[in-house]
Symmetry: C2
Subunit: 256 residues, 2 copies
């Protein structure tokens, strides 16, 4: 709810379009449930408005930052003052937080959210071998954070092979073993590719996985997760990852 | 409520501070009551952020314009593309509406709101003599719109006499008789000065007034209104004016 109080925090979410964004209603339900006087407001903003949008946010006293979806993620790093190494590697960010001195920091939270969701489900990635299907921004973010958690090997696969090759090159700085190609027995399996009608990993691999996670949120129960549960694996749905990611984003904005 | 739908209209209200603004909660209650998928969001914006704020609004697809309070009213006309004569005369505006071509029009609605409230209460200003106490933006706006309604004479008074003199000079273009000085018997009386402990018009003048209006909203029942009612005059409280003004502002933004 909009209280109209000057202390009320306003978190815009910009996108073009912004219709697909589930975040504003989810965040508002969270704020209301927790008694936090904040609102998340969807703003339908074409790219031409991005520079001025970032600029006024620097000045607004009750706007701690903002969220973005397509098509702004790749333009954000160039408009912010502080980028962590993950943003440098990925070239994209989806959350901008204003620091007390008015400078802007941007970050991605897909990987941190996935790592937190896996940990909450009982899967620690330290010394794990992690196979990631999908070399887009989500897959890249998960790869960076899995390495941060001490994973000993990342196996990258993408239907569009050059994307996996490029990601492997960009991840070289992590100092972790990186292989290109399909998952092997015993890998922690993570799907970071769009929803499909079949599991992106074959059943015999899933059967041996200590944990299986899917970034897909729609449907909630994907063929991959169904298979994982059938074999008694730890199964982490996309909505769990999204919930952890949202909490980390709010913490980044000082709202948790 | 924030629905998060891309079609949802977002109307920011900017100010520094913005705490005193009653508009966001009032407008949100209105939107909710009418089933309009729109929200009014308070933004605490110092003057340094105004130029970039106006710029991003030009681009945002679900932002039809915005509202302002102190200290932005005087800077707005210089940042907009279309100014009506009232804004030219007053030098201030409190509402900005985006036209379909992306250009911005700004306007004030104090005067239009007061005229509408008087009319709704049964007082037509055509051929009236109108005495206005207070030569600030509200008083000036009311003077312009009273002239528009065909008032034959405006009597302007301000405790700070030079303000009334300057306003009279600026209103010369209206082609209506303008006098400086206190209200006379038979005048429609309008208080556009801040709330005081006593009526700004003497009781013997109030007793003869066809209608009496007060811009003050807090308290709801001012000494002036109390006096007017005691003498059976048409009495228009500040909240009536504010309600009419709000409806006109929403119509200007395409939301009514």
């Amino acid at each position: 709810m909009i209280s109209g109080r000057t202390t009320q925090v306003v978190v815009p979410m910009i996108g073009d379009p912004v219709a697909q964004a589930a975040t504003p209603p989810l965040w508002n339900a969270h704020f209301q449930g927790q008694g936090i006087d904040a609102v998340c407001v969807p703003v339908h903003l074409p790219a031409a408005g991005l520079v001025s949008f970032v600029e006024w946010v620097r000045h607004a006293r009750n706007v701690p930052g903002f969220l973005t979806t397509v098509p702004h993620k790749a333009a954000l790093p160039g408009l912010c003052d502080h980028l962590d190494d993950e943003v440098h590697v990925l070239g994209v960010a989806n959350t901008v937080a204003k620091r007390p001195d008015g400078t802007l920091a941007c970050a991605m939270f897909d990987g941190r959210g996935m790592v937190a969701a896996l940990k909450a489900a009982g899967c620690d990635l330290a010394a794990a071998s992690v196979a990631i299907c999908g070399a887009g921004a989500a897959g890249a973010s998960i790869a960076v954070q899995a390495a941060r958690q001490g994973a000993r090997r990342l196996r990258l696969f993408d239907l569009h092979a050059p994307a996996a090759v490029r990601l492997a090159e960009r991840l070289g700085y992590l100092g972790v073993e990186i292989e290109l190609g399909r998952a092997q027995p015993g890998d922690v399996l993570v799907n970071a590719a769009p929803a499909g009608s079949a599991s992106p990993f074959p059943e015999e691999i899933v059967a041996t996985a200590p944990a299986v996670a899917d970034c897909v949120t729609e449907p909630e129960e994907t063929p991959l997760l169904h298979l994982a549960r059938a074999h008694g694996c730890i199964a982490v749905p996309g909505r769990e990852m999204a919930a952890h990611q949202a909490a980390l984003m709010r913490a980044f904005l000082g709202l948790e």
